[in-house]
Symmetry: C2
Subunit: 239 residues, 2 copies
């Protein structure tokens, strides 16, 4: 019996990730890190030309083999079944209502929205109360039936994501769909330096979202790019 050579890696992974509102710093940072991890990325934007321009910049940073394209948000939704939402809170509900017809059943929506008071002219270190409990729970009300919502990536510095060094933070992942949560934790763990932690049900997103406002306050006060690490858990909690 002879050993056969391993088959070549597929040129295009089967599940592209559409980053909706993906031209902002959180979106480009996640795109950059995931493209480097060989994920296939679609940058979504209201303006398809802007999406393509940003995609080209990211491809340039990642180099040969980068799978990053740009599309209008609805087209990006239709072309992917992992949707990453990185928009300011004041744009979240309107965008989800607009995209609803384009989101396919079985998709996963990963929401990183934080209801900062800055959305209504207040401080970025304060949050608004959301009737459903959290921005993620609001998102869950707005997506089509059969779409799972996961809350994650709120507490990761967009500035540091756009740089080259490993991060030094944990990503707490909350969802009522264990499979969607696990897939999201796997995506988080592809970012160097990030550990993913199961944060339980989607309702726990309300605290995770508020932590971002606290971190923004720390950034303003101490001039940093704050993140969090959870200590004191057994090793198997981080995955």
């Amino acid at each position: 019996m002879t050993s056969e050579p391993a088959p070549p890696a597929p040129a295009v992974p089967t599940r592209p990730i559409a980053i909706l509102g993906g031209t902002g710093p959180a979106g480009t940072g996640l795109a950059l890190r995931w493209a480097r991890a060989q994920e296939s990325i679609i940058i979504g934007s209201r303006d398809p030309q802007r999406a393509r321009d940003v995609a080209a910049v990211i491809r340039g940073k990642v180099g040969f083999g980068a799978l990053v394209s740009g599309m209008e948000n609805s087209a990006a939704c239709a072309a992917a079944d992992i949707l990453m939402l990185t928009v300011p809170f004041d744009g979240q509900a309107a965008l989800l209502k607009q995209l609803k017809p384009a989101i396919t059943e079985g998709s996963i929506l990963i929401d990183a929205t934080v209801p900062l008071a800055a959305s209504v002219g207040g401080r970025a270190s304060r949050t608004l109360g959301v009737w459903q409990g959290s921005a993620a729970q609001q998102a869950a009300e707005l997506v089509p039936k059969g779409v799972s919502v996961v809350a994650a990536f709120h507490n990761i510095s967009a500035e540091l994501l756009n740089e080259d060094s490993p991060l030094d933070c944990d990503v707490i992942v909350c969802s009522d769909d264990p499979d969607a949560a696990q897939l999201t934790r796997e995506l988080a763990a592809k970012i160097p330096g990030v550990r993913a932690i199961d944060g339980g049900k989607l309702e726990n997103a309300r605290t995770v979202e508020q932590i971002t406002a606290l971190l923004i306050g720390l950034n303003i006060r101490h001039k940093g790019h704050a993140g969090i690490r959870i200590t004191g858990l057994p090793p198997e909690a981080y995955r």
Copy 2:
């Protein structure tokens, strides 16, 4: 000119710390750690005999030179001007109303209360809404004029405090009184392994309090003693 020997350390520090509701795990843990750091501690309890018994146990753990006594809560208040409040949320307001006449002007009240839904029979991984915004802000409404309230020590594991190893967590300190906040950060930093971080105004306690509920959820889910570390800040932020 000859050098004189340094004066001996004072046998009794000038500012004892009264730990109100100090017979619970958070209170005994803080008492143990601070007594080991040569702080003078008064355990306060409704039951003075119980306070004395707990004080004796802590003296036994700390060993020779430990300055730990026990008193009824009001007497503890009158004997100290640093007051550490470690009671369940359902006891906080009533205790502060009762102690109001005993709290002297110029005192500092450090509040670690978390408005867990468990206070009203709900889950310890959920919080209640507090009209004032946070348990700490409720405390600020209930103390006599001229008493500063500081929110701190919410996110530190009571179980680990009662053990001997260094902790692995940060304590976020929030107050509208910068001097009281600094004193509290110095007390936090006396606990081995703890870094203290200026979390800004007292209103930010609402997020710090809620983090505890998130950590309790993580403890239940992952069987640990979770704490948090803040990453990404310059070294001078930790003090």
